[in-house]
């Protein structure tokens, strides 16, 4: 098991190097420049040049890259030009809302997806299955900004039950935090649940045709015990994969949902950074998201190994 963990861990080093190089080149080679954005549209070329000089942006690209990489090796991701704080701090600040949103949305997704996925598999070909398929199709196809606006329209504007948007940190007021999170988490969770539910249904269907299930039923085990204990555990690997996938997608910033609900998460951080060419933030955030991606994948892989010993041997 240890060898497996080590092997998986070291295999990510080249991934980081490639991400580092690509993110640096992409940000610096894209036209547009932070000095121009800071100074505004009507500032003269001369002023922009002067500020670029002070920001070190007039140095050759290769010099800038080595400067950046050597800072990085010392754990320094640089400072955000606009936020005036270290990139690490900015990222962590924006990570909190995103993590909260992701976990809540994931909880919503799992609570919806797994029972309904199982139900659909059990009632295959009957009306619950058809209803399920139709709902999943809606869930997969619905754009998140549309669903977001729809729930705001209904729950915030018409009923006035929940706020239309915004964010209160959990440390400030946990109850208010939750109130602000309910709509975005449900929106995001509903959409993510479609993916997981579909995976649950097909994984369950596959497992249910196996011989050992028939054996279990034949020896008199109750139907629900077979489904929940024997079948579900063996169907979990693909379900876990899809949960891991949806986690990684959401943790890297549910940009659109964050924008619709005005949540200061990672997605907003990156979009804002791109729009104003805050190079350090773009690069730093991409690198840190890579770390999170890799970690989640690692955890999912290790979970496979825990659930299914065969994986360890490969």
């Amino acid at each position: 098991m240890l060898a497996y963990v080590l092997k998986r861990t070291f295999s990510v080093v080249p991934v980081f190097l490639v991400v580092l190089l690509v993110s640096f080149l992409l940000t610096h080679l894209t036209p547009g420049d932070p000095a121009r954005v800071i100074l505004g549209d009507t500032a003269t070329e001369e002023e922009v040049w002067e500020l670029r000089d002070r920001m070190g942006l007039n140095a050759p690209l290769i010099v800038q890259f080595f400067r950046y990489s050597s800072d990085l090796l010392q754990g320094d991701f640089g400072d955000s030009v606009f936020l005036k704080i270290p990139v690490t701090e900015a990222f962590l600040q924006h990570l909190a809302p995103t993590v909260s949103l992701t976990l809540l949305a994931q909880a919503v997704a799992i609570v919806i997806a797994i029972p309904f996925g199982i139900l659909a598999a059990m009632k295959r070909g009957h009306w619950p299955d058809h209803l399920f398929s139709a709902t999943v199709l809606v869930g997969v196809s619905i754009p998140s900004f549309w669903l977001g606006l729809l729930v705001i329209r209904f729950f915030a504007v018409q009923l006035g039950w929940l706020p239309a948007g915004g964010y209160v940190p959990m440390t400030e007021d946990p109850w208010a935090h939750l109130r602000y999170m309910i709509l975005p988490a449900s929106t995001l969770g509903f959409i993510q649940s479609a993916l997981i539910a579909r995976m649950t249904r097909s994984a369950m269907l596959e497992v249910m045709t196996q011989n050992y299930i028939r054996t279990a039923r034949a020896k008199g085990t109750s139907r629900w015990r077979v489904i929940l204990i024997h079948a579900l555990r063996n169907a979990l690997i693909p379900i876990l994969t899809s949960i891991g996938l949806s986690l990684t997608i959401m943790i890297s910033g549910s940009t659109i949902t964050e924008a619709v609900f005005n949540i200061p998460g990672v997605g907003q951080l990156i979009v804002n950074a791109v729009l104003r060419r805050d190079y350090e933030v773009i690069q730093g955030a991409i690198l840190m998201i890579t770390v999170i991606f890799v970690l989640i994948n690692l955890v999912v892989d290790l979970l496979y190994a825990a659930i299914n010993p065969v994986v360890r041997l490969r």
């Binding site: 036209p31 009507t42 500032a43 606006l149 329209r153 006035g160 609900f261 005005n262």
Partner: protein
């Protein structure tokens, strides 16, 4: 589905809306105004940036020596009196007595001198208006003089400019920052900075020791009172979210409502709309320095084809949100506004244009239009213009970028033929960035006669004589067609009915505004 259709679909602001009567309206703080702005705040340094949002928030914190009243004439703010010597070389300013900074320290002439020194080195307006200034000196605690080698009508106007304002801050802050951004935000305004959560919100609180002018409020001048204890500015970049927030009562006031929504929003009981007039002009720039449009005859032919009404209607969505006007300065700025060149615009003559184009020797060279979806009204204009130019046989290609990329692209004269931008309100003709060739604005327009008149204008202290010169400048400029002014576009903001006394002048400001919940 575009945004307009989407909003219709939801009926945002439609008949079913309940307005601001939800639970949240009641739960909102009684003495806090909540404002949703459309753009993130890049900096709160008034000297540093020309960004509109910096001005929107900064004008509550910072004040200038002079300002503009409702007639766009100079009015006192921190200054009690000001005068210019007979020869126009020396300007004296005396501060009002008893002024305090937000940190409690008195405002002295030394602070004003240090602030102006910093500002003239950073601000575009300051650099040009103070080019001939040799010394800014504090005479005593309350008076200062500005000495120049040439008389300038631009000098006092620059001191009053709300954009990249000559804000007065403590000397220590101004000196410590130098050319870098300031890190402590201490002004003299009716509100002071309470907190700034980057990319999320700024909160301001009433400055108890504020010394207001006696004169009645007019424009940006006169008496300013912080009637509301606290103002919170949230940055909400998504327009439907701003509108939903206004309806649910989260925000008392929202800026930048797309005019497409005017009818539906205005129909909601409990919501008040404000049309900001003037606000900005939309401008199409030709690349006069390079490529097809370096030939003035081709520029004129293209101009002849344009139907500005259909272009502006696409931009503003409603006829009551734009007007076609030739003025480089706005119609409301009665002293400076000129109709020179009106006969050269909105000609709607594609047939004539086609013939002119042929005569000018256009042979199907590609025309690159740079555009961006970030400013929808400019993007929509660019689509219509592309069509109108293609109708007269031009080979037009639209290149769509995000705004920072567009700004970068337009620096490269060989990368484009047409781009669009908008200009806000210039307080004085010398502040216009794109007419004077020496300001180096993209497009490479240069006319020595225009520049010479601008120099004479700057040296003319008599306002009527300066206005006459500016009239000539506009006539020459319009005849050259380096740009096509597409039209003036008005701004739309909205608030709940609890907001009282809001007055749109130049931009948003919330002193003298009260809340009645």
């Amino acid at each position: 589905m575009n945004r307009r259709e989407l909003m219709k679909f939801f009926g945002i602001g439609g008949a079913m809306a309940l307005g601001g009567n939800s639970a949240f309206a009641q739960s909102a703080a009684a003495d806090r105004l909540s404002v949703a702005l459309a753009v993130n705040l890049p900096s709160l340094d008034p000297h540093f940036t020309t960004a509109v949002v910096t001005r929107q928030i900064g004008c509550h914190i910072y004040e200038t020596l002079l300002t503009y009243n409702a007639d766009y004439n100079l009015a006192p703010m921190l200054a009690e009196t000001w005068s210019t010597s007979e020869d126009g070389l020396t300007t004296s300013v005396t501060l009002r007595p008893g002024l305090r900074f937000h940190d409690g320290s008195p405002v002295t002439a030394m602070d004003a001198v240090a602030s102006l020194e910093r500002w003239r080195g950073l601000s575009t307006v300051g650099k040009s208006a103070f080019a001939d200034v040799t010394a800014i000196t504090a005479v005593d605690e309350r008076s200062l003089t500005i000495t120049a080698t040439a008389a300038s009508s631009a000098l006092l106007e620059a001191l009053a400019s709300p954009t990249q304002a000559a804000a007065i801050m403590p000397a220590a802050v101004a000196r410590a920052a130098g050319k870098n951004e300031i890190t402590s935000f201490i002004g003299t305004g009716p509100y002071r900075l309470q907190s700034w959560q980057k990319d999320q919100y700024v909160t301001l609180e009433r400055f108890a020791d504020y010394v207001a002018l006696e004169a009645p409020p007019s424009g940006l001048g006169g008496r300013k009172e912080a009637l509301i204890a606290e103002i919170r500015f949230d940055f909400v970049t998504n327009a439907p979210s701003r509108i939903a927030g206004l309806q649910s009562g989260e925000y008392d006031f929202v800026d930048d409502v797309p005019p497409d929504n005017f009818k539906t929003i205005a129909a909601i009981p409990g919501i008040t709309t404000y049309i900001g007039k003037p606000s900005r002009q939309n401008i199409m720039f030709f690349n006069c320095g390079r490529g097809v449009f370096s030939n003035p005859a081709i520029r004129k032919a293209a101009n002849k084809a344009l139907d500005l009404d259909s272009i502006m209607l696409a931009s503003a969505a409603r006829p009551d949100f734009y007007r076609i006007d030739p003025g480089l300065m706005f119609r409301e700025q009665t002293l400076w506004h000129s109709d020179a060149g009106a006969e050269l615009m909105n000609l709607k003559d594609p047939e004539g244009a086609k013939a002119d184009l042929k005569a000018a020797g256009y042979a199907g060279q590609p025309v690159v239009i740079l555009t961006s979806r970030e400013y929808q009204y400019l993007y929509r204009a660019s689509l219509v213009i592309q069509q109108q130019l293609m109708m007269i046989g031009m080979n037009v290609k639209l290149e769509v970028y995000d705004w920072p990329t567009l700004l970068e692209k337009r620096r490269n004269a060989s990368a484009w033929d047409i781009f669009f931008t908008f200009a806000g309100i210039y307080a004085h003709p010398t502040q216009i960035t794109f007419v004077d060739s020496r300001k180096g604005y993209p497009g490479g327009y240069a006319n020595a006669e225009v520049d010479a008149r601008l120099d004479r204008l700057a040296a003319t202290v008599d306002r009527a004589a300066a206005a006459a010169l500016f009239h000539e400048v506009q006539a020459l400029y319009r005849a050259d067609v380096p740009t096509v002014k597409l039209g003036d576009m008005f701004a739309l903001a909205a608030s709940g009915q609890q907001v009282k006394g809001f007055d749109f002048f130049f931009d948003l400001h919330f002193w003298n505004v009260s809340l009645s919940r």
